[in-house]
Symmetry: C2
Subunit: 550 residues, 2 copies
């Protein structure tokens, strides 16, 4: 085998493998290059370089008891483990570990939907359950509950929530970590622990009251390495009877400021599903004068942008609203939204969207109105239906790359405060940073917030296809973002140390607190060393010093 | 001084007091019996007995830096600390510590409202801010945001949330720990740490995205002892334009089962504020035959209860719904609720409530409709207005007690799964337990769930006024509750070890995990030893063995 865990001899590793085989069955321990290829990150910036993270082996336990056995063996042989659920977390590292040489704990065989209760609106699942699995389970039984899906349905609710993924329905459900209710973990010492009401053995309320009694450590397991999560409960959204959409168009650039205040009001009051912001001015991007205006250093000039809008009879912004609920409620909320925009944003105009009873017919499902942002993908996930359509965006990008080149994918989604002023500031900061690096401009002034999180915005920034450039650009964007108050919410393993460096309040007090806990509960450092930027003392020398890349 | 911390000599304690005085000012260190009386729990079951928890001193820092200084002194002199915010957490111990002899850290002087943003709907407060303080701040500035208040307005949002208190508006805001967004803590080593986006120094999104990057330890500080919280952010509810209420009456006992399913649907879809369940059959409690039926061992017989209802032309249940939002939305949601009940619960009838534009006039505020449960108190807190009215319930109970007797108050609010079957089961389990103890029956079959938590129910059980009986009854109810799956969500310090014992999954794996962390991050065990059932090793012998009380 080419790769071994740090400080483990080939002989010792061979003994560990024999023990893993005894614990989970020889056919569920993988060591060949061919088998381990499946655990490489196909979109790593470092793919095929000496810095690529490679697995030393993979083991696929089938039960909690087998996970416990694996953890105990890892402690004896000091083989670091990296647990994955479906392992399809592409653009965030896929199945690859922070520490090269880790043993991947592939939980795909633990794929039971343990319970869905459509009267009390929750689910309890194992790690390997995909969105498709859970959706099929619900559909086969005719249950009237929705799951909030991530972009790509081959991922699963547990893995996505543990990485704090986000979705597309009502705000509470959309921030997936919020909707988690009850966690079972195998700790580094091999014990099984349950949080919330799961700690009360006879309780049937594990998926209803998440806090339980006393302190709640659940948050330590998200983007963390304090245990291997083996069961997770989720709150589910009741299937609404009706869906309505509508769009608001705003003539002037600075109209975004009152518009965001109004959307905050409507969303925090529980009236809205996900909101899509768009700029109709994108139609002018073929005009070089306009492109210069949209990429101006120091940020766009509102008056200049407004002149282009007026001269071309275009609005500056479009805000698409989605409503779920009883038919009359959806209509009343839309009418209320229009009345507020009408009185508070002069010149606002309105586009009526769709008004559809749920469940949609197949024809309704497959034919979103033409102006629905990104088409079918959003239609499906907005209806609680997992989809693979989003993957076509990545496929298309890879297909367009030069012959044989592997195109890196790495997410950079900073958190933006929820105001128009902060959105403009983010456009300027990241637009200038891209320009400073000599990269192709991306029309920063037209970039719009993503309304995924319950109470915050995010933004996405396109990068070129060259892996080395992407690597350096990401480093710079993370830093310039942090300097200006925009922090990445999630990162692939190979950038986690760098992102973690930015969350430095109190001379890195938060990370130090985590690492103190890590050394206490996982003294051999065997669980996902480095995940979330948290390194156990035995592997702390592997924390990457990013100044070496600068 | 009568009480010293364990294992601290009078000389050493006197030195510690001098250091505390140097750190916060001599006038803010309290050691006299008269001064320390204010920190006794006036409603302790053990008041005036040798088991009462007494403070050795109290210190009142004015700033984060002074809190850090206090923590460092405590480490040097091994004086355990017990932080309080407003200290008015009556029925849950007030200002009294788990460990007698602790130094109370009274944070009342840190009472600044640091920020309220009514465009982005959040607040940031210090520990000593009361609900009244925050409400006044918002009213003085004419801001259109509501706070979700606990029962009694002299408490404060931070202390209540840290004890996982609950309130009265929309579900997300009602479970106060959910609405927390961003925490600053002074750790046991004196360092200051911020969670979520607060860890990114330049971020303005601390109160908008609570998870930040990497693991999130925030849950450790609720009902916990891993730090002294010095700042806390809260999501606020936007002021709705309208309020509507209505009640549904259900003829038969088993109608509660479909009714709860429908309420779950409406509530989880975001249509409802808090729901009040009541039984009109209470009107029959003067009838001894009916009382026997309502207190029958093994649970009430539905047919017998239905005969009483039919013979007296009474409904079995009343479900009061509250709606917030645009006027047309409130009406549409109420009409939808009625249509669902009409088609799914035969014989359901409806009472129209109020339809009021917000803000209410003073006259509307002070005159809730007569059938509004518990009158003015609920009217105020349902409108985001702090109130002292609830305190009158306790006052009345004390006034009715024999001359000079101090009446204990101790909350027992077990979590009940959200179904009619489980509500009936809880009625039976606790009704039988009360009967087994020979205590006065409380008409178990008419007790109704409290809809405070976002996705779970709670129930309340009246107890007699004799402290010794209350003590033994609580012990038994906690145990019989746990045996049947109903866990207490919160407890006064003197019962926390016992409640914590019930959360025993995996041979107390959760508590062991917490105590491993506790010893690592607070090796001298100076922060609130015993809180939430978590004892540091240096004081672990003080964990109460409740079998001694059986």
């Amino acid at each position: 085998m080419a790769v071994l865990p740090p400080n483990v001899t080939a002989d010792s590793f061979a003994s560990a493998i024999r023990e893993y085989e005894a614990a989970v069955g020889a056919e569920w321990v993988f060591t060949s290059d061919a088998d381990l290829a499946a655990y490489r990150d196909p979109y790593s910036i470092f793919r095929d370089t000496e810095r690529e993270s490679l697995a030393s082996a993979a083991v696929a336990p089938q039960s909690v008891e087998q996970v416990q056995a694996v953890v105990r063996i890892a402690n004896r042989y000091r083989t670091p483990l990296f647990p994955i659920s479906t392992g399809r977390n592409f653009a965030y590292g896929g199945a690859s570990a922070n520490l090269s040489g880790s043993v991947i704990v592939d939980l795909k065989r633990m794929n039971r939907v343990l319970r869905v209760d459509a009267d009390r609106n929750f689910a309890l699942v194992e790690p390997g359950v995909s969105y498709f699995d859970l959706h099929r389970y619900i559909q086969e039984r005719g249950l009237k509950v929705w799951i909030d899906c991530a972009d790509v349905g081959w991922g699963g609710p547990m893995g996505n929530a543990l990485d704090r993924g986000m979705g597309y329905t009502l705000p509470f459900f959309r921030e997936h970590a919020n909707a988690v209710c009850g966690v079972e973990v195998v700790l580094a010492n091999g014990e099984v622990m349950r949080t919330g009401m799961g700690a009360l053995p006879a309780a049937d309320s594990w998926q209803e009251y998440k806090h339980g009694f006393g302190p709640d450590p659940s948050g330590l397991f998200f983007q963390g390495n304090f245990g291997i999560v083996t069961k997770m409960g989720f709150r589910l959204m009741p299937e609404p009877p009706h869906y309505r959409s509508g769009a608001i168009r705003l003539p002037k650039r600075l109209d975004l400021i009152p518009a965001i205040k109004l959307v905050n009001y409507l969303s925090d009051s529980g009236m809205l599903g996900e909101v899509f912001y768009e700029s109709p001015l994108r139609a002018l991007l073929g005009n070089s004068g306009f492109s210069a205006a949209a990429n101006r250093r120091g940020g766009a000039d509102p008056a200049e942008m407004d002149r282009y809008a007026a001269d071309n009879n275009l609005d500056s912004w479009q805000v698409e609203l989605q409503f779920y609920g009883p038919r009359a409620t959806c209509l009343a909320n839309w009418e209320y939204a229009k009345s507020r925009f009408e009185s508070e944003v002069p010149g606002a105009s309105f586009l009526e969207g769709e008004s559809l009873d749920i469940p949609l017919t197949q024809e309704q499902l497959m034919n979103p109105r033409p102006w629905f942002r990104n088409g079918l993908w959003h239609r499906e996930v907005s209806m609680g239906i997992p989809s693979l359509s989003a993957w076509s965006l990545v496929d298309a990008r890879s297909a367009a790359a030069p012959d044989g080149q592997v195109v890196a994918h790495a997410g950079f989604f900073p958190i933006i405060p929820r105001s128009g002023e902060w959105v403009f500031r983010a456009q300027q900061v990241f637009g200038d940073a891209i320009a400073d690096m000599g990269l192709p401009p991306f029309n920063a002034a037209l970039s719009t917030p993503l309304v995924w999180a319950m109470f915050a915005y995010q933004m996405v920034f396109p990068l070129p296809d060259d892996n080395e450039i992407v690597h350096r650009a990401l480093l710079r964007l993370v830093e310039v973002g942090a300097e200006n108050g925009f922090g990445d919410y999630r990162s692939p393993p190979f950038h986690q140390d760098h992102v973690s460096d930015m969350y430095s309040f109190g001379d890195n007090a938060l990370r130090r607190f985590h690492e103190t806990i890590k050394d206490a509960v996982d003294p051999n450092g065997i669980l996902a060393p480095g995940r979330g930027g948290v390194w156990p003392s035995v592997y702390r020398q592997f924390r990457h010093d990013w100044s070496r890349d600068a």
